[in-house]
Amino acid sequence: MSQAPAPAAAPTAGAADWSPRIVAFFCNWCTYTAADLAGVSRLKYAPNVRVIRLMCSGRVDPQFILDALARGADGVLIGGCHPGDCHYVEGNYKMLRRHQLLQRMLADLGIEPARVRLEWISAAEGEKVKRVVNEMTAQLRALGPLGLPQKFAAWDREVTALAREVHARDAAAGPCPDRAPSTQPGETVHA
């Protein structure tokens, strides 16, 4: 078992310092408890994950995942009970289905599948929490930052510039009654 790839602590700037940020959604009954067990067992793993507790992985709305990525997470980890072990009978299956659909959409967006990971971790599998977190941290480190907020900013600048250009051209061409009013200059698409 590999040790947590501890993020560099030396105060040097550069890509080597970068460390992924992972938002995790853990179900209360299996994976959250497993993470507690990892703690009680004093297992050591990478400090890159921020866990949000839900009652069931079935509660994970795909919007949570997209929102986390959009706000700067480099990856999202979802932890649920093993198939057949769901505290609520089959919430984990629902999550599995959503995950598969979401993966297709993410692929279209150019987001690597490794960034959104679904894992079945039972309450007894503290070791697995450690392994999965370390693995995912290492994988994301290899993939590099997702940087969606920065990309949004860049896209906004592009769209703004385009809007300005169109506006200027429209102004030069004179009014056109058939056209809807174009985007106002300086308006950002992403609030």
Binding site: P7, A9, A16, G39, V51, R59, K94, A124
Partner: protein, 697 residues
Amino acid sequence: MTRPQHVRIGFYVCHCGHNIAAMVDCTAVARYIATLPGVVLSRDYKYMCSDPGQELIQQDIREYGLNRVVVASCSPLLHEHTFRGAVEAGGLNPFFFHMVNIREHNSWVHTDRVLATEKAKDLARAAIERVVHHKPLEIKKVPIHPDVLVVGGGIAGIHAAMTLANAGKKVFLVEREPSIGGHMARFDKTFPTLDCAACILTPKMSEVGSHPNITLWTWSEVVKVDGYVGNYTVQVKRKARYVIEDLCTGCQDCIAHCVYKEPKFDDLFNERLGKRKPVYIPFPQATPQVVLIDPEVCLNFKRSKNPDGTPVVSDKCKKTCVEACGEKRAIDFTQKDQVVEIKVGTILVCTGFKTFDARRVPAYGYGVYPNVYTALEVERLVNASGPTGGHVVLRQGTNPDGSPKTPRSIGIIHCVGSRDKKTNLWCSRVCCMYSMKLAHLLKEHTGAEIYNFYIDIRTPGKGYEEFYNKLLEEGTHFIRGRVGEVTDWTMTPEEEGKLVIRVEDTLAGVVRRIPVDMVVLATGLEPQADADAVRRLFNMSCGGDGWFLERHPKLAPVNTFTDGVFLAGCCQGPKDIPDTVAQAGAAAAEALALIDKGYVEQEPNTAHILDTECSGCKSCIPLCPYTAILFDETRRKAYINEALCKGCGTCVGSCPSGSIVQNLFEDAEIFSEIAGVLAGEPVTAGRTGNLTPIATP
């Protein structure tokens, strides 16, 4: 960030002694949180869960007019309840509280103090963001059905059932074998007191059989469990005995008159060392005293099955048993399995263990050499009601007078299947003691030389070490070494015709070959073969080793992760009879505490549908495993029966119009939590390098 004017948050970060403070700079976290909008007060404190810690929260609520409280400390699974109580005592609705786990999920699992501190800040900030959206909620009280189901009629189930029944509760005791008694009923004596297992168990068994509050269903299995704490609906399959239980008096005339004059079929109760007839009672003290017929061997059945799985009645036998039964008319060849449904409020799982299959260690020759025995077989051999009437005679060999051979030397091999990565890594806890007990009994019965081969002798119990000492005085040999192999090839004349044990005597530091007449394998304890199916039935968890998982190894040892389902005995892990009985009592007490409270408090995390938003698409309806979502055809809107909702949130996560709201896990709460954990700058070394490292206390 701005906050609604009325939000006044109090934040507390707990040091938990050094548990948190050694890895997280609690003062820095408190200082940082103090800068966030809406936070009126931010403190760090040594032990938040202590009385003064809780008192502090209450005082602050009153003094500073707090209306939200966040505590960053251990896991909410441990102390959420405590702090909600404190918040309520301070005069607030207990759900204006949120807890941040910076111990199990942070200080205990990380090694870099700077990064752990940053993580604590992120998690705390998320809670601050979230708690703003919290709403006052009410805990629902649901009445508890006072009846109890006890699954498994070994000593654990027997003791638990008796405790509950004596407290006036109605108990259903379900056992899958034809009689209760479990493994204990097959033991000869019990260590270290050497009192006879039957003498102490049978009175309890017959008490169970006659107790007015106990409904005893043997030869029965639980097949389905629905519902939740306080209100379980359970289906029990009562397997066909081909004997009507109420009409059978246990006279056993049918057995005497069976067309088979001699017992011919393997007697499972006696570990196949003896024989029984197709109609039988498993052992003399069986409870209930009701016979049963084995359709696999009874002549009145064909070996084929009907389409419904029941055996085909051939009517080929003379049915002397029916004749013998006479007017009682207890025998019914057409009997079928029956499924009965019962309602209970709590369930005690006492399903026990199985012994390790000694064939899995081929080096010890079980199944190859007839005179290699398992410990359970020896329990039956030394038992006066066993297949040999308590005479220890071997399967192979004869004495000079032609009678079956009595062993003159016996080797007992400890830890068979235990402490071994290839089989089971755990110590089975009882083998050292039962091996010594068998050593004593075998010596008493045969006067043979007895050798115990052990890795370590483990005697952690009252009077156990003293028992070991007694064995040493009796002249039993103790050789510290795990046996390499049991073979029948010989090097010296005295080895001829014997089983040879090859072992390193690790204390003497020499390899020895020891010829013996009989080898006893102290097989370890394992989870039941169907433990996985059983745990699914009751919605429990198993540890990696396959034993049922208790809610907390120290503080909730008989609880499971499913409220209202309790554990006792070896299904939770190997243990001896005193520990089993103690645990059974504890489980019964836990159940009684629930029942006598009269109601269960339900976490108000149920979901409801916003009428104004619901588009009536019905996509939520098939998702609910509890059929809690209904559809109002007249209004074309879905609605949730909150009494049935368990609060998983699956429907919420998939509602396309976002019209379902789960209390405590509202979208706004979770989105703000996501925003909260990500609001900080990504941690880089460049940034953390600017932090003043704080000396670890």
